[in-house]
Amino acid sequence: MSKKWMIVLGAALIAGCGTTVDPEQPGASVEDRNAKSIDGADVKRVTPEDNLGTALAAVKQGVLAKRSVFFDYDSYVIKDEYKSLVEAHAKFLVANPRVKMLIQGNADERGSREYNLALGQKRAEALRKMLALLGAREEQIEAVSLGEEKPRCSEGSEACWSQNRRDDMLYTGEF
């Protein structure tokens, strides 16, 4: 039994127990609306949104589920070890032109917040350019920075800072 149906049934039971059933809202019409879900003949409208949904299911698994690119200290160069990951995301963006991506660049905590915001932007921009070179469309991607504001790790050590110097890729529905 679907959750929705259980709620309707529950509501009907409560209404039945009560003394003030509203005659304007007969229980029958509520049951009718949900009747189709009982016998499993759930009619789904096929809309563009559903196509997008199918496409976006793909980014939750396999290589596309990997969303982070890490950087060296004071560097904005995408390292070779991330090239295949970036290519996989570019390929997905090319194949699904209606999907949008938000790249959030990040920096470690040392120094000025606003300067770190600019450093994070440089990292986001480096990834955006690479995806664009690989065929993703300009309007598909927005590169922004979170600076030092959203650290993944908050201890004051290099091991920790290296996790914070990164780009995160978010797809439609995730931002």
């Binding site: 938000l102 000025s112 606003e114 915001l117 600019a118 590169a143 922004v144 920075s145 979170l146 931002f175």
Partner: protein
């Protein structure tokens, strides 16, 4: 004390204790070399209100690091005869006396007079009519009067400060009196808030909020609580700085690629590019005369301070020593520039005399950020870290007076000292 007065007082105390959890505590960690010894007697008349007013005056003057309190004894009215020899013997150079009298409509008339003990002369006084909950405000105004008469520069005790408190995944943009009291939350968010900047009239704050998963600049009217987006272009929008006339903001946008300087009207219209470089340009700040915009840029390979005419043109480099000089903030008289410099991996607050280019490091801490001048130029408020916790600190521009401002549970950061309010 009448029942009405008692009730009014209970209200004040309740309001104060209610806010105590999030309140900034200010600790004096360094004082001026020659502090003026001053006696502030309890005011005559209504004792509860009198004590409340005099307490604020004493705390303000002492916290400035420029006054030393001398024990004052019994209440003294502003019109009582002053025995200057006695006060001199007690070591006081100045004396404040006053009175608080209830008026017919449940309000109070507060009068005070400042005396120069050495010269045995009155330096003047004022009278205020106020409601009991305004005891602190009145105390600040008396402290401002005393400060200005004795030091020749305006006091900042009636001004306000803005800052961001982070606690348990929650960010609050707060406004408090300069003594940390009466904190009020202008904005609470689960996402970070940075770079608050006061409009020159003190009525609005521009800031950067990440509530839309990216940095967006808002302008927030404090009285109404209403706000509007001042810049939300593709990419990041940050580092707002008000023009001295309050009509424009210098901002950093990335809509055309890297972080670059632009100007927008405060309502978000009329975007114009201010400068151009191949690298990062950020942290703009207008000189008080509006002629220049100082900013941080890595165009020369490392982040350094530059300035450009606010009408555009070529940039001129200001800092040369060291490989990291950021966040330029000019003193209200335009003569000095506070900034953050890196020394052996430690980020410290420094001050440059812009005429001579002489630089002095003012702090000995590791993680100083976000300097902000008091509107009289005497103190510089900044963010620092002690024991892994974000605190605010203030240092006088001569490096002598030092204060620490912290909250009980949480990190405080991103301070901005508000302007003088015109009465």
């Amino acid at each position: 004390m009448t029942a009405l007065v008692r009730a009014a007082f209970a209200l004040v105390v309740f309001a104060l204790s209610f806010a105590a959890r999030a309140q900034l505590t200010i600790e004096i960690t360094g004082a001026g070399a020659n502090r003026i010894p001053i006696a502030i007697a309890d005011f005559a008349g209504e004792p509860g209100v009198s004590r409340a007013v005099a307490m604020v005056v004493r705390a303000d003057l002492e916290r400035s690091g420029l006054f030393k309190l001398v024990e004052a004894g019994a209440p003294l009215a502003e019109n009582a005869a002053v025995n200057f020899a006695d006060w001199k013997a007690q070591g006081a150079d100045a004396l404040v006396v006053g009175s608080v009298q209830p008026t017919a409509n449940g309000r109070f008339e507060v009068r005070f007079r400042l005396h120069d003990v050495q010269k045995q002369a009155s330096l003047g006084g004022l009278a205020f009519v106020m409601a009991a909950p305004q005891a602190r405000t009145t105390g600040h105004r008396i402290a401002d009067f005393v400060y200005e008469k004795l030091l020749g520069e305006p006091g900042i005790f009636s001004t306000r400060i803005a800052y961001v408190v982070k606690s348990a995944g929650r960010f609050e943009l707060q406004i408090a009196d300069a003594d940390g009291m009466n904190p009020q939350t202008a904005l609470a968010s689960r996402e970070p808030i940075i770079s608050p900047a006061w409009s020159p009239d003190g009525g609005r704050l521009a800031y950067v909020s990440f509530e839309a998963k990216k940095p967006v600049i808002y302008v927030h009217s404090l009285a109404s609580g209403k706000r509007h987006v001042a810049a939300n272009f593709k990419g990041s929008n940050s580092a707002p700085a008000w023009s001295p006339d309050g009509r424009k903001l210098a901002v950093v946008l990335t809509k055309d690629g890297a972080s670059q300087l632009y100007s927008v009207n405060a309502d978000g219209s009329g975007v114009v590019r201010l400068a151009s470089s191949a690298g990062i340009d950020t942290e703009p700040f207008f000189s008080p005369d509006g002629q220049f915009i100082y900013f941080t840029s890595d165009r020369g390979g490392s982040p350094q301070v530059y300035r450009v005419s606010s009408g555009g043109g070529s940039a001129q480099r200001i800092t040369f020593e060291g490989s990291y000089n950021v966040t330029p903030r000019l003193s209200p008289d335009g003569k000095n520039m506070a900034f953050v410099t890196r020394n052996n991996g430690r980020f410290q607050l420094a001050l440059m005399d812009l005429a001579t280019r002489q630089t002095q490091v003012l702090t000995d801490s590791d993680k100083d950020e976000s300097p902000s001048f008091a509107p009289n130029g005497r103190m510089i408020l900044y963010a620092s870290e002690i024991g892994g916790r974000g605190v605010l600190a203030a240092v006088s521009s001569d490096g002598r007076v030092k204060q620490k401002l912290s909250v009980q549970a949480g990190d405080v950061r991103e301070p901005a000292w508000g302007p003088f309010l015109k009465n």
